[in-house]
Symmetry: C3
Subunit: 203 residues, 3 copies
């Protein structure tokens, strides 16, 4: 596999383990629960992508990901207990993790010759599912359902990546622009409370 | 694959996307949430079947299903916003989707040489799991747990299909009779409130 | 496959179907719901392990497991309706099922040449996931999150198995010691209310 994809994925795993612990750390939770939330957050999205693609979960073939998630989780846990951190600190690494996972998930789907529309959905699944599991295990309403653009930001970035690739852009450039697109849209949506309009039928 | 199975599956996908939007449309939900519910409802059951059978999700190899679910969802959304629809309209397409998916799920399992009892369970999984996801995402109690015969109707139809096939019936005939069995049992169960008896032990 | 692993797995399936019915039997639940809970409890953990390992669910290739779970469930159901059973009887077979599944899950992962740390997590998944599904379907807080050592006991046993195997112990001996370790730790944790300390950061 392309080393760029490999290390981008590893960074996304570490960042997402950090967000898992930052969120779980606000609850009374025991050490095993903390490990569980960190692993679910870090590995959940890529695992669902691999299951849908019919290949073994990525952390089974290469347990470096598992070690990386555990170490990032434990280090964050130590820091969180020493320092008082701002309440919504986890929103920024969460946006970065969302962007990294969405881009790498879309790349892997295209490597497996998945058609373009399905590939963007696999990118979104990779991006959002770890956070959904993390929030469910922490008894929070999943951030993906909670208002500001989240899945929509991921989908926009995945579509941008597919479009740039089809237009012949270099892989690194397409990935960088798609990453920036997702982070900017997500953080702007949080900052200015941008949401999709909500509809309700007349039933 | 047999064109009959292919088009029956496509019809089930469209019908289930419709039921997803009809149910989600009664809640305040944004456009991304609507797409999510329509896709989960339309693709969830077949996806779980494929995962258990260890093959790639059916909408990855052939994204016609994905396009079909998206188009059926968007068209239903437009109709729902223009017309006032009766409250429980979605129960009838839901029964049809249940029947189509159960039959096609059982057929695919048998094509993969799954033993007969396991094949009927894969049929039931294909039939009910999309609706379970749809109801969970819409914050409803899943219809499969809510009283009138639902999973039981699907299982009866799957067993009928397996029995007729073993007895040498033509595939189209067996499929048609199993489909009719599920729709009739489900709609009769709704009409006359037929439920399995509920037990509770003396513990 | 090794007959020892095969029959240990079969025993774990039967025991877990029993715990499913014992727990579901305390609720008003219909016969189809009872079958569903018994199957989810008996087959859920091994199914998730197989999905992650990218092989077909074990009860699809060999439906003996399915028949075994159904028969154990129905027999327990009959007994539960005839006798008044002590309230927490299901905790002991649950500990046995946890131990059996964890050991067999770890063994199967190692057979598939999964690296050791990932293999212990697959063992824990096999051990706890059926119970998580059972408790969710019965509207109980999953026992794995509820205080006394549960997942931790399973992980300890899986690590012991991996360690003994690496040290050259006979497979039967390693499996027996790991099994005993999990049952003893779990039952001792229930008896003396042993829990991991709970942390909460200062956020």
């Amino acid at each position: 596999m392309d080393p760029l994809i490999y290390w981008v994925g590893m960074a996304a795993v570490a960042v997402s383990a950090v967000t898992g612990v930052l969120e779980a750390g606000r609850k009374p939770i025991d050490l095993f629960g903390m490990v569980l939330v960190a692993l679910a957050s870090a590995l959940g999205g890529g695992t669902l992508r691999d299951v849908l693609l019919d290949r073994p979960a990525f952390w089974i073939a290469d347990q470096t990901y598992l070690v990386c998630a555990l170490m990032a989780g434990v280090m964050t846990f130590a820091v969180v207990r020493l320092l008082t951190l701002p309440r919504n600190l986890f929103l920024i690494p969460d946006a970065i993790g969302l962007a990294l996972f969405t881009v790498v998930g879309t790349q892997i789907a295209l490597l497996y010759e998945v058609p373009w529309l399905a590939a963007t959905f696999l990118g979104v699944v990779t991006g959002v599912f770890g956070g959904v599991l993390r929030d469910m295990l922490s008894n929070e309403v999943p951030v993906v359902f909670s208002g500001e653009l989240y899945g929509t930001a991921a989908w926009a970035g995945a579509l941008l990546y597919v479009g740039l690739s089809a237009a012949g852009a270099a892989p690194g450039l397409a990935a960088g622009l798609a990453f920036a697109c997702i982070v900017v849209v997500r953080l702007a949506a949080i900052r200015w409370r941008i949401m999709l309009p909500t509809f309700s039928s007349r039933q």
